[in-house]
Symmetry: C2
Subunit: 329 residues, 2 copies
């Protein structure tokens, strides 16, 4: 009775795919390594084989008549309306690929499967996954921020993805919060990502360690080799009470709060779902971020301000991709 779909999260390292039941969530999931060397044609073949295998497996218990299609979240710029992916980073050799139609054609011709295919970019798909199955279920409007190597974003307005006039909306990591800074990010000065992307956090910590005479317990965690310093060391040290690491997270959270304040000022969005590996630092980031968000917005905009952790982890992409097939809720 309940509809189901196959959701795919296409990444530069791995392809994650799942059979998702609209009501019960993920039933089966698979991860394979992306054959990046084989280019678009090879990867489309991988995707099709994965879809066919999951489809046949699922049909042992689910009705083919209830199958809603295949959704794909892909890195890079996507024109969701036309199903076209442009220059995905981490997928060498890809230019402008009509991925939706090519996958659909491949599925019919090589796998004998005639199905609908939906495509969107990974940040949008993750936001939509959280909207339908995760931390955004109760929010009509929110921004999902992914804190990791980069700082990405996806916008849900009125329970629909907001893609913008050209499909590039939600690039929250490229918002400029410190235009006189020396840090650069893709040639742009003082962006949110240059400050609190993984590299920005590590650079900040190194500067604070160098300037701090009383030392930090974080050194022990990376064998005093600060070229190996990573956010996970800073998280562990902070949880053990290391003052310097606590100060690093305080500042990271505070800068995140400034970025979110810009979203509130411009779009009147007051709910934020925070995911990605760096978000594992939890309240070390969330508390200063909410505090700074309130201090950086007008009192008339304080009502309803809320930051919540994402709930779906690295499954958000598969959930969101499948949800594209079920239509906007």
């Amino acid at each position: 009775m309940s509809r189901w779909a196959i959701g795919i999260d296409l990444g530069g390292t791995a392809v994650k795919a799942a059979v998702v039941c609209e009501e019960r969530g993920i039933l089966i999931d698979r991860t394979i390594l992306t054959e990046t060397a084989s280019g678009p044609a090879g990867i489309i073949g991988q995707l099709a084989a994965l879809v066919a295998s999951l489809y046949r497996l699922a049909c042992a218990t689910l009705a083919p008549a209830d199958f809603a299609g295949v959704g794909v979240g892909a890195p890079g710029a996507v024109n969701a309306e036309r199903g076209v992916l442009s220059y995905p980073p981490n997928l060498p050799g890809w230019g402008i690929v009509p991925l939706r139609d090519e996958l659909q054609k491949f599925l019919i011709e090589k796998e004998g499967l005639s199905v609908s295919v939906f495509l969107d970019n990974d940040a949008n798909v993750a936001a939509f996954g959280e909207a339908v199955y995760g931390a955004g279920r109760e929010f009509r409007d929110f921004l999902m921020v992914t804190l990791g190597t980069g700082v990405g974003g996806g916008i849900v307005l009125n329970r629909k993805l907001y893609r913008g006039p050209h499909g590039t909306a939600g690039e929250v990591g490229f918002m400029i919060i410190d235009f006189e800074a020396t840090t650069l990010h893709a040639g742009i000065r003082g962006t949110l990502e240059s400050s609190i992307g993984k590299k920005g956090i590590v650079d900040l910590a190194r500067r604070m360690i160098a300037a701090n005479a009383s030392g930090s317990a974080v050194g022990k965690l990376c064998n005093n080799d600060f070229t190996k310093l990573s956010p996970i060391h800073l998280e562990r040290a902070a949880l053990k009470g290391d003052q310097l690491s606590l100060a690093v997270w305080q500042r990271v959270g505070s800068i995140l709060g400034v970025g979110l304040a810009n979203v509130t000022a411009l779009m009147d969005i007051r709910k934020f779902v925070i995911g990605g590996g760096i978000a594992a630092a939890g309240n070390l980031i969330f508390d200063p971020a909410l505090d700074q968000l309130r201090r950086s917005t007008l009192p008339s905009m304080h009502e309803g301000l809320e930051l919540v952790p994402a709930l779906l982890g690295n499954k958000a992409g598969m959930y969101g991709a499948a949800a594209l097939c079920f239509g906007e809720p």
Copy 2:
């Protein structure tokens, strides 16, 4: 045959009202001083009398059957759906006023006019005016920025006003572009308005004059009394080739470009209509702003970037308020 409406721009100093024909634009307009001392009841009486007088005048040549209603643009936070105005700045004694319904009631009871009334805030109404009658006619999506004492904004998406979930969207002046700055604006550090609102521009010019040994021709224009320095002096001096004044506008435009880049990154908006008194400086601001906007956005977002001057000047509010009555185009 053609529909018509009355558009009102309610300000802290003056009330501007016009009879606007949907096809031919403004036919008659009036400006009266706002009786701020008389509070909401007094001002609603002023508005009603003005509407009644314009309505009767218009009915000499226009058909009452084609009358679409009265639109009002008001300062402060407006809930357009409920027609409620909250704490308008420059209108002392106003708290939360259901202005739409009260004006409608007053018009029926005191003036014998049964008409539809529409209400929105002044920044939105000006943006909508430019969308329907001005510089935004060709744009499906754009941000209108008003550069004056403050820096305000109104967002048009898909030819409709984007008000946001709580009706406070478009506060572009409150976006933070320099979070470590010392300048404050309503208690918030490093906002766009604190940098390039009227006061920010004058403060910047004073700092640059103080730091500049070779002097500036702008001194002569304000009788060397720099407490009287205003953007108009800087504009005149720049147009005469004064290097320092040119450098001030270069920097103001560049900072504006940073703010607009944030709008492009987040919302994928690439068209900007720039109005307000400060925008009279024209290409002194526009050229560096567009240049900085391009340098502050990803190459994939450069296509279609455009800054254009607003066309309706201080009539945008009346036009936009009337356009509210004609419905979204």
